[in-house]
Every structure is written in structure tokens, then in C-alpha cells.
């Protein structure tokens, strides 16, 4: 029960990663961390997941990289980033004074890539946890393959696990036949938490030019259009594993976020929703607190997975 005047506790955790609020800025939607700083009080969100970094610099895909579609956004950025050497030299130090959790994101094209970049990034004090992006749909050769093949997903996770003791969050793809199957393998390989889900593969064709609109031809769909797909993915993963889940996919409001939490997510990320309202992660956190208060509940933990009869307790 809540005593008069006290606020419900919305802090949460993903393994050993403690979060003061259950909302994070999703990777790829927050850049290298500084772009939104003038607009958002980061002390009021749980954390930021940085843009993915790879072993070598990447120029990214040719333009156009964005196509707005009904209730969503198609993107094919192609992991543009300066590579781990330049990233460590120029970017990471800027995260030192962030008043929220900072999660580094690692992408790769081989098991060795994931191990190498994870080890170097996780060694930095500015990074509180690692997200393993094994599910980018927008890079040629083996971008998403890791998330779509249980053996490779397990191998990438084991390789990263072997080089860091910091919390390891593995980001899964919705573009699979059985996401629960992949989730079990990644849990067994040593992941501390799962990010569910990355974008859904899609494309759009310009009928005037009779050609695909994206420079990369195919892309990843995000935004409200994929929310029901993502809620189901969280629901299925929550029944399959005992490690905590970071839910994401089209979350714009607290009501959206609560669907993920009731399905079994311990925290949520907001991505495309930031683009129209960079303060959405704050509003979502406030709305979750209000939901708990209206039901006279004292903590977020009391509602995680409560709509999901197959949710495994004790995480």
C-alpha cells in the first residue's frame, strides 16, 4: 500500500543494471548521446542506449534512408558509425557526466567482431552495460543472421559474455519463426537481459518511378505499426526465459508501455516516438507512476507480467 504523499517506486533493473525509471532511449534514436541533451532532462529517464558501434568505420547506406509510412517509419541507415577506435577516442568520454544509465551498443559481422568490440567498449567506465545488436536488418552479409540462427545467436552471446562482467543485453529480431527458441539459447549463453524487439523488415515502392524508395531497397519498420507484433514477442519471450526483458516497438505513451510491462517487460525503450516528442520517455515514466498510484500499488515490480499467465516469476 502507498502511504499518503509517497510516490510509487518505478525503479527497475535489467540484471545488475539499476534504473531509476523504466524508460530508456532506444539505440539509433539517440545518436551518440549529445544531440538531444539541449531538449531533455536526462535525470528523469532511466537511461540511453547509444548508437551501435562496429569494429571498422562504416559510411552507412546510400540515401534515401527514411520513408514515412502509415503509422510508422521505414529506415535503412546501415550502421553508419566511426568505428570503435574513433568512438573510444572522441565520443565515449562525453558520456561520463550523464545523470542516467548509459548502455553501449555493439554490432558486428562475425563472432570475433562481437567479442572484440564488446571487450573494448565495456572496459570504459562511462559505459554501464552492453547491448548486443545481433539484429540489424539493414546491413548486407550477416547483419541480422545472428539473431535469426540459434547457433550464431548463442555463439555471439557467449563470445561477448566471455569478455565482460557488465550487464549484457541481447537485442532480438522479430523476423524469426520462433523468437522464444532464440531467447532460450541466448539466455543459456549468458545474457543478463533481452531487448525485444528490433525493427520488422519491410519495404516501400515508388509506383511513379517503379522502384524501391529506400537506397538500401529493404528496411526496418518501426513506430506504432509494429507495436502489436512487439507486444506478442515480449509475451512469448516472457514465458520462455527467466532473465528480464527490455520491451520496445512503437511505444509512444504510458499506455503503450504498460502493455509491454504487463506482458512481462521490466523496462521499455522508446525509439521512433522520440522523433516527435523527445520528452516522451519522461512522460511515459510519469504515466507509469500515475497508473501505479491510481491502483494504490507501491512499485513497478508488482505489475510486471501480470497479464501473462505463463510469465515466469522470480527474476
Amino acid at each position: 500500500m502507498v502511504t499518503a504523499g509517497s510516490q510509487p517506486d518505478i525503479s527497475t533493473s535489467l540484471g545488475a543494471l539499476r534504473l531509476d525509471a523504466p524508460t530508456l532511449m532506444a539505440s539509433g534514436c539517440y545518436g551518440s548521446g549529445e544531440e538531444y541533451a539541449p531538449f531533455v532532462d536526462l535525470a528523469r529517464i532511466g537511461g540511453v542506449v547509444l548508437k551501435s558501434v562496429t569494429r571498422l568505420p562504416r559510411l552507412g547506406n546510400d540515401a534515401p534512408r527514411l520513408v514515412p509510412v502509415a503509422s510508422g517509419l521505414l529506415n535503412a541507415i546501415g550502421l553508419q558509425n566511426p568505428g570503435i577506435d574513433a568512438y573510444l577516442a572522441h565520443d565515449v568520454a562525453k558520456f561520463a557526466d550523464r545523470p542516467c544509465a548509459v548502455v553501449g551498443s555493439v554490432a558486428g559481422f562475425s563472432v570475433d567482431d562481437f567479442a572484440y568490440v564488446t571487450e573494448r567498449l565495456a572496459a570504459r567506465d562511462e559505459i554501464d552495460a552492453i547491448e548486443l545488436n545481433i539484429s540489424c536488418p539493414n546491413v548486407a552479409h550477416e547483419g541480422e543472421t545472428f539473431a535469426c540462427d540459434p547457433t550464431l545467436a548463442g555463439a555471439a552471446t557467449r563470445a561477448a559474455r566471455a569478455v565482460t562482467r557488465k550487464p549484457l543485453i541481447v537485442k532480438l529480431s522479430p523476423n524469426v519463426t520462433d523468437i522464444a527458441d532464440i531467447a532460450r539459447v541466448v539466455e543459456a549463453a549468458g545474457a543478463d537481459a533481452l531487448a525485444v524487439v528490433n525493427t520488422v523488415r519491410g519495404m516501400s515502392i515508388d509506383i511513379e518511378r517503379a522502384a524501391p524508395r529506400l537506397g538500401n531497397v529493404t528496411g526496418g519498420l518501426s513506430g506504432a505499426a509494429i507495436r502489436p507484433i512487439a507486444v506478442l514477442a515480449v509475451w512469448e519471450v516472457a514465458r520462455a526465459v527467466r532473465i528480464p526483458i527490455l520491451g520496445q516497438g512503437g511505444i509512444e505513451t504510458a499506455r503503450d508501455a504498460l502493455e509491454f510491462i504487463l506482458a512481462g517487460a521490466s523496462a521499455v525503450s522508446i525509439g521512433t516516438g522520440n522523433f516527435t516528442d523527445p520528452r516522451a520517455p519522461i512522460a511515459v515514466a510519469d504515466g507509469i507512476r500515475a497508473y501505479l498510484a491510481a491502483r494504490k500499488l507501491s512499485s513497478l515490480a508488482q505489475i510486471v507480467g501480470t497479464a501473462n499467465p505463463g510469465f515466469v516469476r522470480g527474476r
Partner: protein
Amino acid sequence: MVVPPSGERVATALGVYESEGDRLSLMLVVVGPRTRELALLQAGAGLTLLGPLGNGFDLTALGDDVALVAGGVGVAPMLLPARDLRARGARVKLYYGARNAAALVDVDLFAALGVELALATDDGSRGHHGYVTDLLERNGRGHDAIAACGPSPMLRTVGNVARSLGVRAQLSLEETFACGVGACWGCVVPLDRASTQAPAFPAAADGEVRAYVHARICKEGPVFWAHELRW
């Protein structure tokens, strides 16, 4: 970036047309549901606005004889520069093209500033029957510099014409934007690595050395020097 009251979840990027005191004017053309909603707003309605974002034309680098080149709603970011350039005594000529005479808006405002006009319409209902870039190609020699805004095909032509005339050109580019603040890397254009606007980037990319990098139109731009673009 402007978000209409319905909360349609993709913002629309608009140029500032006029600004005086605490008043701000935005110009838009209705092309879809978002711009339609904005156009139908009643006095007193609220809007969410994030900005100003990105750079603008560098007026100090345009010299004393300036060609402003506008296509359609690309005229929006031209009025304030025209005013400032005229105020410092520069000669200004506006090359302005649109679909038809009705779509050539506020020509009088420019004329009142003492801006010379060169008009073109696709249907010949006013001015030259054809592209505004035809006029620039024909009469553009002698300008110190060009500043242009409009559809991408027009801007590419302006860049080519500028090169043949031996005149430098600043182009204000258009793209689909998501974040508007440089976070998502969705609105990029290939830019010469040596450009002062090029984002810092190591020389080896994907194992190859390229002469260009991808610059963000929303952050490093939207205005770039035509001769530095590699599009």
C-alpha cells in the same frame, strides 16, 4: 520540426519565412494529410515546434551581387536573406519558378525590397515558359554567388549551372527527416571529406578510403556549398 495537434507521429520540417519580434511565419504547401492539417489550423490553435535547427545561408560569403534561386515552396527561406542582403546594399536578383502564376507567391514583397525578378512557370502562365534554371543559365553570369532552395532535381541543375558559370552556390537541401537534431542519421548527403562541414570521420571506411562522408542534412546542413557535394 512541426508536430500538428493530432499528434501525427512524423514531424514536418518547415522553413522560417518571416520573423519579426515574437512573431514567426512558416510557409508550406499542402501535399498530404500532415500539411493539410497544418493549413487548416484556426487562429489560436497550438503547435509543437522544435527549432530552429541546422544552419542557414552564409550571407557573408555571398558577395555584393547575389542570385537567389527558388523553386516552388523553396521561396520560403529567401525573404529574410533578401531583406538582409538589401539592407547591406547588395544587388539581389530572385530567380523564382513554380507550377503556374498562382503558385508564384508574394512576388510583390521581394519587388518592394528592390529585388530584381526573373520568373518562370511550368505552364507559361507567367514569366518564362520552362525551368527557372533556364533563366539562371542564360543570365546568371556576373553574380558573385548563388543561394538556392527547391526540389532536389532543381538544386542539382543549379549546381551544374553554377559550375559552368564559374559562380559559387549554396544549396539548401530537402529530405525526409525523422529526428531533426542529428541523432538518427536518416537524412544524409555525400559530402567532400575536406569540407569544413564534413562530420569528423576516420579515413578508412569498410576497409576502403573514400573521398566523401555522409553529412546530416538536418545537423551539418541543410545548406551546403554545391561544389562540395558528391551526390
